[in-house]
Amino acid sequence: MRTERLVQHLLGLAAACSVAVTVLIFGFMVILGLPLITGGAFFQMFTSPWLPSQAVYGIAPMMVGTVSIAGLALAFSFPVSLGCAALISVLGTGPLPALLHRLVRFMTGIPTVVYGFAGIFVLVPMIREWVGRGSGMCIFSAALLLAVLVAPTMILFFSDSFSSVPKAYLTAADALGATPVQKLFHVVIPCSWRGLITGVVLALGRALGDTLIALMIAGNATAMPGSVLDPARTLTAHIALVVAADFDSLEFRTLFACGIILYVCTTLMVIFTRRVGAVSERRLWRSA
């Protein structure tokens, strides 16, 4: 009986450690960023530009960069993902949809850095030629590549929730003579809207949290982007670029602000998806 207790306590301890890690990550950022918050500079950062020569360290351009890249990526990715998911679960015939499903699952295993590498040498020159000015490194390029990166998250989640629509409903629709497309619009999508929303939010989280694509493709300029063809810097890329700076400097401190924003955003998204209630194992497929 004593070993029973001991093992149970050990398991509990492991769980407590795992929870502690989550809390610590947030705690470290808050504590180290505390001088910033108490100093009052914290909230200024969200609205000021990044002008190191005038000792103004604001992260507003990075916030805009993050939101525009992630938002655009989602806008590109959502229709295609919806189409792919519909193809896989409802509309597709023949062996190809299954093959597509397999490809999508495999895509979750492709290293981000390889996407970025290919992006630099394929996508960026293409965009540069097409736009005719600039480096080709811009919000648009990064969003395109990011769209490919987050597509599997959405497709797998969508097709999972499409497939979990009760068979009886589908049979009923069949019996009434519904075509596959009618089934999709009148039965499948209305029944799985929770899954759709959750999938989109998860993909958004993944897009916001991605560092490498933006760092490699988006150009990292600190100016407020004026169009999607301008280079921009995301919060994540900002962390990667500035982390090497002087630890005591104000510019280093901005990292805590970036970190706290990202942490709070992803936490809110997690809480939202749990509320919506369509959380499944799928969410962990290469999230973060």
């Binding site: 000015r133 990292n220 300029a221 600190t222 700076a245």
Partner: protein
């Protein structure tokens, strides 16, 4: 694809085995080099202009003395100074002279083992071969945004700059554009290598890079009539020049000292010359 995988696993299996054996392997006999019989690690970070020389020096030393380990990271001059000051690395490289404040704060000892210039570069396809200082200032400040204005094609100028930790940026800012503005719309790259490949790939790009890094993939632009080359830096005609420093906290000792001595040795200086820098000895 699968074949590589298999090969990889073979390597993994063997390396795991070898890892166990590694400790028991006899040290290769050394020559009279001061590194003979030494074991330990030298950690280097900072200036990215230095990296080719550091890599080559590390290679030569480590190939002969496998027990000596030299790790080389980038980050930029600011990072190098900061990290060596904090004791995170043994040698912090900088492409600018550390400020008096930095020297005092960390008790830095500086070793200038080569002289380098910072040159403005464009893509080789660009017809613009020379710029005046005023033009360079205007371009980097974002006031002049078309190549047509400086005698090129009617295309927008893409500006590439370095991050704030860069010594190359600091020197360029101070000596080439007289502490003028650099527009925030500029693309930011993180090393001299990255600057070179960015400009090499962008027909309408302009940037600035360590003269040692200039090769035929990018084209140096004459500044007020002086083209940045090894020659012009050496004879002092090209003014945007700087020393390449390796800094230590306090007097270097042991392996760190030997490494710095190696940089000043004949072999070390030869490496520096090969990589396109002006030697000091």
């Amino acid at each position: 694809m699968l074949r590589i995988g298999r090969r990889f696993y073979l390597i993994m299996a063997i390396s795991t085995l070898a890892l166990l054996l590694a400790c028991s392997f006899p040290v290769l006999a050394g020559d009279l080099d001061p590194f003979a019989g030494d074991a330990g690690t030298v950690k280097i970070s900072g200036g990215t202009a230095h990296i080719p020389v550091m890599k080559e020096a590390a290679k030569q030393i480590m190939q002969h003395y496998p027990n000596v380990r030299i790790t080389v990271a980038g980050g930029g001059s600011g990072v190098g100074i900061k990290q060596v000051g904090e004791g995170l690395v043994n040698i912090g490289n900088s492409g600018r002279k550390p400020t008096d404040k930095e020297i005092a704060k960390y008790d830095l000892k500086m070793f200038k083992w080569a002289i380098d210039g910072v040159g403005v570069v464009v893509n080789p396809k660009n017809p613009v071969k020379a710029l005046s200082r005023a033009q360079v200032k205007a371009i980097f400040a974002g006031r002049m945004d078309n190549w047509k204005a400086v005698g090129g094609t009617d295309k927008a100028i893409t500006i590439y700059t370095r991050d704030e930790a860069s010594g190359t940026r600091a020197v360029f800012w101070k000596k080439a554009i007289d502490k003028g503005d650099i527009t925030a719309r500029a693309n930011v790259v993180v090393s001299n290598g990255a600057m070179k490949s960015a400009v090499a790939n962008d027909p309408y790009g302009i940037g600035y890079v360590s003269v040692g890094h200039i090769d035929n993939s990018v084209m140096p632009v004459a500044l007020d009539g002086v083209t940045p080359t090894l020659e012009t830096v050496k004879n002092g005609r090209y003014k945007v020049a700087r020393g390449l420093f390796s800094n230590t906290r306090g007097e270097p000792t042991g392996l760190t000292k030997q490494f710095i001595d190696f940089l000043f040795s004949q072999t070390g200086q030869k490496i520096a010359a090969e990589k396109g820098f002006v030697t000091v000895n």
